[in-house]
């Protein structure tokens, strides 16, 4: 059968090739039936919104057919780039994503390295199991917990600082704009460190024990083994994950900022998505909001390509 198809291919005309395509398609009919419905699905829910981007170049009014919308060119983008709030939102987005990138990167690696050194397996497994817990809890709950922990009325953090004598009256953490970025970053670290460490721990498990034995014979201390064997052993994993997260740098979402923020800290909590939500959707300015969304998407795609370019240089492979 295989040999026959090869011979066929040699003598085929263009027409015959199309015929072969349909014969193959007929053979694949079950596979088509199992995937095409979902392709349509994805088209509707993920690609149709992209078509909605055209709204950003119109003065969109709901309830009118598409052809009767008024085209306004780049007017909304011009308005956007002249809005001080836009630059504020951009600053907040970049600041929190950068802080999140650095902290969300360094802390899990450190955690994995340390946990790897715990020799009592039962204790180690217990710590690891507990460390996953916050990942499965919603941001609504985490925001509630953070607010509670930092509260001025019996919040444990304030209680502790009072007891230690660091402060002499409760400090209003949640009302200080300058602290907001740090609070969001720390909340993120608290929630995701254990989860993000899974991959590093798996990579560490793959390092050959003979390396450690050799190092011990040479008289290396535990700290030296961690530094010279374990850390280099997971270097590739670290590089891959770093580059991948650069690609997602600007798409940090807005859940944390929405839930942890309040009017007192808005100057620091409003990220691009929230800006689109408040000043686009919330005010019925659909076209203006879409322009914000487009800006966000375009920047993240550029970052992704840049990250992929670096990745190709480093590993000669593509992540896309």
């Amino acid at each position: 059968m295989e040999a026959a198809t090869t011979k066929e291919r040699k003598t085929e005309t263009r027409y015959g090739r199309t015929g072969r395509f349909f014969r193959k398609a007929l053979q694949n009919r079950w596979l088509y039936a199992m995937s095409l419905p979902f392709v349509v699905w994805v088209f509707v829910f993920s690609y149709l919104p992209l078509w909605g981007w055209m709204m950003a170049f119109q003065r969109y009014r709901p309830g009118r057919p598409f052809s009767e919308q008024e085209w306004v060119g780049l007017e909304h983008f011009r308005a956007l780039f002249q809005d001080d709030l836009f630059y504020q939102a951009l600053r907040n987005t970049l600041a929190m994503s950068l802080m999140g990138l650095v902290a969300g990167f360094v802390v899990p690696i450190f955690f994995a390295l340390m946990l790897n050194e715990v020799r009592q397996m039962l204790f180690k497994r217990f710590v690891q199991t507990v460390s996953y817990l916050p990942h499965f809890v919603s941001w609504v709950v985490v925001a509630g917990i953070v607010t509670k922990m930092l509260s001025t009325e019996g919040g444990p953090v304030n209680d502790l600082l009072l007891w230690l004598g660091v402060i002499d009256q409760p400090y209003q953490f949640m009302a200080k704009g300058k602290l907001f970025w740090i609070i969001v970053t720390l909340a993120d670290v608290w929630k995701e460190t254990g989860w993000n460490a899974i991959i590093y721990l798996a990579a560490i498990a793959g390092i050959g024990p003979e390396l450690y034995e050799a190092a011990r014979v040479d008289g290396a201390s535990r700290l030296q083994q961690m530094w010279h064997i374990t850390l280099p052993g997971i270097r590739t994993t670290i590089v891959i994950l770093l580059i991948m997260s650069i690609g997602h740098l600007i798409s940090i979402g807005f859940e944390k900022q929405f839930l942890l923020g309040n009017n007192l800290v808005r100057e620091y909590s409003q990220v691009l998505d929230l800006y689109a939500l408040n000043y686009g959707l919330g005010m019925g300015r659909f076209s203006f909001g879409t322009a914000i969304n487009i800006f966000n998407s375009v920047v993240s795609v550029i970052l992704l390509f840049a990250a992929n370019g670096i990745f190709k240089r480093v590993t000669r492979e593509s992540i896309m």
Partner: protein, 299 residues
């Protein structure tokens, strides 16, 4: 590891050990303390709580806080909807991801490359909030239960997790079934589906947790429909209600709060929302650890 008895099981190594265990203990405390604190307050007498000083155990034990929040009718509705969307959404998500993953793993499938690129792009480009909002409105899905289920059925990430798992299975299994005359769907249903159970368990967990934890779709699309509320959304309203951006929609809950202090209500609801997850996730640990590693390698 007992044979580390070389001359250098030294002071520095013991110091190192001490630092490691101290750090591990620190992680344990900062992770567990908040949960225990919340649990303690939720089980403590509301008036007594106001005095302050509760740590990780209730000082004046009571179940009153829970009684009060369970009398709040929206919580029951929210619980029902959250459970329902989690069940239906997870079932559909697992079936769809595994089906597409199977077709993508078939090297002789013509549409393989197209479908896989078509899916992968959705992981990186999204239309954004407002075009999506208008799409849902155009499709008449505002204030419907369907909006919880339909948009999220296909997830590219999950498809790729399952596919990399299927790729790891011996291809010969499929071929022998083929010779026996089984069609592709039968192969998927009879052979692939049972063999991919570990991967399916992983994505089922991801999808289920995602459904259980989501609140934004309720906020955005169904906030006018009280019978479609979800547990997370109710909690969100309550938690935000006495923060500085007062939310007027939480009126009903504020009435409930008048009976006991808001603090106790918040903590009790937080417990109700969190407990189901607390019970489930340790048992699924071995699956998601495997799944995380798989997903990272392939995607």
């Amino acid at each position: 590891m007992g044979s580390r008895g070389f001359a250098k099981s030294s002071l520095s190594d013991r110091l190192f050990d001490a630092v490691v265990y101290l750090y591990a203990a620190f992680v344990l405390v900062i992770t567990l303390y908040p949960f225990l604190h919340v649990a303690a307050i939720s089980l403590n007498d509301s008036i007594d709580t106001v005095r302050g000083g509760i740590t990780i155990y209730p000082r004046k034990f009571t179940l009153k806080n829970y009684e009060v929040i369970f009398s709040y009718q929206h919580l029951g509705t929210g619980f029902r909807n959250s459970a329902l969307r989690t069940l239906i959404g997870t079932a559909l998500g697992v079936i769809s991801s595994s089906m597409i993953a199977y077709t993508l793993s078939r090297k002789d499938f013509q549409g393989r490359r197209f479908v896989s690129v078509f899916l992968a792009l959705t992981m990186y480009v999204s239309g954004g909030l407002i075009p999506f909002f208008l799409l849902i409105r155009e499709l008449n899905m505002m204030n419907t239960f369907a909006v919880y289920i339909l948009p999220g059925i296909v997830s590219a990430f999950n498809v790729f997790v399952v596919r990399s798992f299927i790729d790891g299975l011996p291809y010969a299994l499929q071929e022998s079934a083929k010779i026996d005359g089984a069609n592709d769907f039968t192969i998927y249903w009879r052979i692939i589906l049972p063999l991919t159970k570990p991967a399916l368990a992983t994505i089922a967990l991801f999808v289920a947790v995602g459904h259980w934890n989501s609140w934004f779709d309720t906020y955005l699309f169904n906030s006018q429909a009280e019978h479609l509320t979800t547990l997370q959304y109710e909690l969100m309203k309550v938690l935000q209600s006495t923060q500085s951006n007062v939310d007027y929609r939480a009126r009903n809950m504020t009435e409930v709060m008048a009976q006991i202090s808001p603090e106790s209500v918040k903590m009790a609801i937080t417990m109700v929302v969190t407990l189901p997850i607390l019970f489930v996730y340790p048992f699924l640990q071995r699956y998601f650890v495997k799944g995380m590693t798989l997903g990272a390698v392939k995607s």
